[in-house]
């Protein structure tokens, strides 16, 4: 038992020493999460931004105070930017068709009279090839109409219309605002996954590229010690990556409600599973660069299917089935429950156990395949 631990520690030490001697690999290990998170922060900030300049065009065909007020609400909106006010509906639609605006709002003639009678309409032509912008603009038109109606209740314009009868008050159980960030734990999960894939490339494929892997195998160290040593190195690196990521995410407003120890345990299990899978794949694909490309290509679907940015519950049935079959989904789920809800081991134990079992199954497979394809 003691030689096994000693050999494992030696291999882990060798891995970390090699990494420290390779400036590019070392920088990437540290910079990778920072650059990645930088990208996601840009994406996230675009979604959370309180103001946008979505180009819009308005045709006001009515000359009532109500239509003027609606036009005013639209032009002073913080989300849409009325670039043109045109005279006809056709002109407005043409601007959208030409791609110069995401949407056109047409306030029809008689809008004010209709509103006073309790029923009227507006027309919104939207370019749904820009789906998110079109949805935001649609929401902004609704908001502008609602504001006109609400202000009218207290002002001189008293329209015979009634607002929605039932209002939904949403209370997320974490206590965060309903519009709060939803994907920071997912960032952590995906970065740990990418980091562990990178460790696989460092651990096996680059040794093969350099020709040092056969020499390592010819030493008296057992195959199990070699692999567990590489796993131990990944554990150390994952602890560093998780710490760094938590620091960056905290600076971006993330509050960890649960146990930090449990967060580290979850990321370690995600990394161990990823490394085990990477080792299995690396036994078939020898080139380090080909392996990296494959692993990066595999990571992108994980963004959409493993609960990184969207709950697997919201996926189409096929996607939900794939998500359930991916162990990363359980790791990401556990991270979210620990970080956002502050849940403990009893609540996430099942997820962690599943990750551990998958790693324990894959590791012997990797060792077996590596021995056979030596």
């Amino acid at each position: 038992m003691i030689p096994l631990i000693r050999d494992t520690a030696s291999i882990a030490g060798k891995e970390l020493k090699q990494l420290s001697r390779d400036p590019l690999a070392l920088v990437l290990t540290i910079m990778f999460p920072i650059l990645l998170i930088g990208n996601f922060i840009v994406i996230g900030s675009a979604f959370r931004a309180t103001s946008h300049d979505i180009p819009a065009v308005v045709a006001n065909l009515d000359d009532s105070p109500a239509s003027a007020e609606l036009l005013n609400k639209l032009t002073t909106s913080r989300l849409i930017h009325v670039t043109q006010v045109v005279q006809t509906q056709a002109q407005a639609f043409r601007v959208v068709d030409a791609g110069a605006a995401v949407g056109a709002v047409v306030i029809p003639a008689g809008f004010g009279i209709g509103l006073a009678r309790g029923h009227t309409y507006v027309v919104a032509q939207l370019d749904f090839s820009k789906a998110t912008s079109a949805q935001i603009m649609s929401g902004e038109v609704r908001l502008a109409i609602r504001q006109v109606l609400e202000e009218a209740k207290h002002g001189e314009l008293n329209f015979q219309v009634q607002l929605a009868t039932v209002e939904v008050i949403t209370i997320p159980i974490s206590g965060r605002p309903p519009t709060g960030d939803i994907i920071m734990p997912g960032f952590l999960g995906i970065i740990v996954t990418l980091g562990a894939f990178d460790d696989t490339v460092n651990a096996i494929s680059r040794e093969r590229d350099r020709g040092t892997f056969p020499r390592l195998i010819l030493t008296p160290v057992s195959m199990f010690s070699i692999y567990s040593g590489k796993m131990a190195a990944t554990v150390v690196l994952t602890v560093l990556r998780t710490g760094l990521m938590l620091l960056i995410l905290s600076l971006n407003g993330l509050v960890v409600r649960g146990s930090l120890l449990l967060v580290f345990l979850t990321t370690l299990l995600i990394a161990m599973f990823t490394l085990s899978l990477g080792l299995v794949i690396s036994s078939r694909i020898r080139s380090s660069s080909t392996l990296t490309v494959l692993e990066i290509a595999m990571t992108f679907p994980l963004f959409s299917l493993a609960g990184t940015g969207q709950s697997p519950l919201l996926l189409a049935p096929g996607g939900k089935a794939i998500a359930l079959a991916l162990p990363w989904s359980y790791g990401n789920d556990a991270l979210r429950r620990i970080i956002y809800l502050g849940l403990g081991l009893p609540a996430v134990g099942g997820d962690l156990l599943l990750l551990l079992i998958c790693s324990l199954i894959l590791m012997p497979v990797a060792i077996r395949l590596s021995t056979r394809t030596m």
């Binding site: 309409y121 109409i145 209002e167 008050i169 949403t170 694909i285 490309v293």
Partner: protein
């Protein structure tokens, strides 16, 4: 005849590339099968087929707590539980117990009807007050809170307690929308999520594979020492660039058809334009990426660095060029970057042709930017490769 020599040399380079590619089974598998497959399946599985629609909230377990126990609250329960969006809605009697169970993955939302709901609702007709219901959500599930809130709001905003059967919220009603007495007639075609995703996949698969094939291929040749031999041969740089471009255009064509085939057969994707237009756009994106790939390889970048650069290139494009978020939503420096990236124009052209059905030739700005950037990148790469060729060979 220098032109003829360049042509024959290019053919020789392309043939050599094919030969090497054919011998590398894992490269063939990854480039032509796995990358298109991963991206297409992840889009299709996540968003569902283009021909089918599904309710995101229908199969999410939720609990309904009725503290009012009046005719209005019972009718609201009947409306929701009988709808197509709340198939797994069950009733619970105790509000606190129901809320305490959230987060344990048995159910993900609790809809609470407060006491006095009916009274306020009936009174609202005369005194303009609004009844409220409270929705508690498990926000450890990303996106679930907004989705359930939106769907529930659609059902209750025009809820009428005095009629037994509520009007069903149809797609048409959702499209038309209503705020108070103002109807919003929404025009413009909504596109199935998969069709929007298809434009993203077609672009990203090309960028992902092509950048590695060009920049990675040249870096590998340099690291293996074959680049030095190529430089010492009588072939010139332009033959090498043209040969590799021809080789990669063939691969890009195969990939385009693979993605389209998978999208159409598996997920009933329906492009609103001809295959030829899609192919031309796809190849223009491939050419832009090739230009960038040659440029990067002229900077003597190692193979590992190429792979890392590729990852960040794809991420940058996701963030800044309208693939994931519309560039209209970006502000400040991000908007400037988005408008400076030629890929933004290519993706825009992709959406306007494949989704909206605009003829490619009518998108003059997008086409001009694409062609200009291809020419610029190729010329710049050629100059750099020519200038640094000795440095690259050592």
């Amino acid at each position: 005849m220098p032109a003829l020599k360049i042509f024959t040399d290019s053919i020789a380079i392309a043939a050599n590339e094919f030969l090497q590619f054919k011998r590398n089974r894992s490269a063939v598998l990854i480039s032509l099968v796995l990358i298109p497959l991963f991206f297409t399946v992840s889009q299709g599985a996540g968003r569902g087929s283009a021909g089918s629609s599904y309710s995101q909230t229908a199969n999410i377990p939720m609990v309904f707590v009725d503290n009012d126990r009046t005719m209005a609250s019972v009718r609201l329960w009947q409306t929701l539980s009988g709808s197509q969006d709340f198939h797994r809605l069950t009733q619970a009697s105790d509000e606190q117990t129901a809320i305490a169970g959230l987060g344990l993955k048995q159910y993900y939302a609790v809809i609470v009807i407060p006491k006095g709901f009916q009274n306020i609702l009936v009174g609202s007709i005369s005194n303009s007050t609004q009844a409220r219901l409270i929705l508690y959500t498990d926000d450890a599930e990303p996106g679930l809170t907004s989705e359930v809130t939106g769907t529930l709001t659609n059902y209750v905003q025009n809820f009428n307690p005095s009629i037994e059967v509520q009007p069903i919220v149809s797609e048409l009603q959702l499209v038309r929308g209503r705020v108070g007495g103002v109807e919003i007639i929404r025009r413009g075609t909504s596109f199935p999520g998969f069709n929007i995703g298809l434009t993203v996949i077609l672009a990203i698969v090309q960028i992902f594979a092509v950048f590695y094939e060009i920049a990675g291929g040249l870096s590998r040749e340099r690291e293996e020492g074959t680049f030095a031999r190529l430089i010492l041969s009588p072939m010139n740089i332009s033959s090498m660039i043209l040969g590799k471009t021809a080789f990669d255009l063939v691969l890009s064509t195969i990939r385009t058809f693979t993605v389209l085939g998978l999208g159409i057969v598996l997920y009933r994707g329906h492009p609103n334009t001809e295959i030829g237009t899609i192919l031309v756009l796809s190849l223009l994106i491939a050419l832009m990426t090739m230009g960038l790939g040659f440029l990067v390889s002229a900077l003597k970048v190692g193979l590992r660095a190429v792979v890392i650069l590729e990852f960040f290139l794809v991420l940058t494009l996701y963030a800044f060029s309208g693939l994931l978020i519309d560039k209209e939503l970006l502000v400040g420096g991000a908007a400037v970057i988005a408008n400076s990236l030629p890929f933004s124009y290519a993706f825009d052209a992709m959406r306007r042709t494949i989704l909206v059905g605009r003829p490619l030739l009518s998108l003059t700005t997008d086409l001009t930017v694409m062609v200009a950037s291809i020419v610029g990148l190729y010329v710049f790469s050629y100059v750099l490769l020519l200038t640094f060729r000795e440095r690259l060979a050592t």
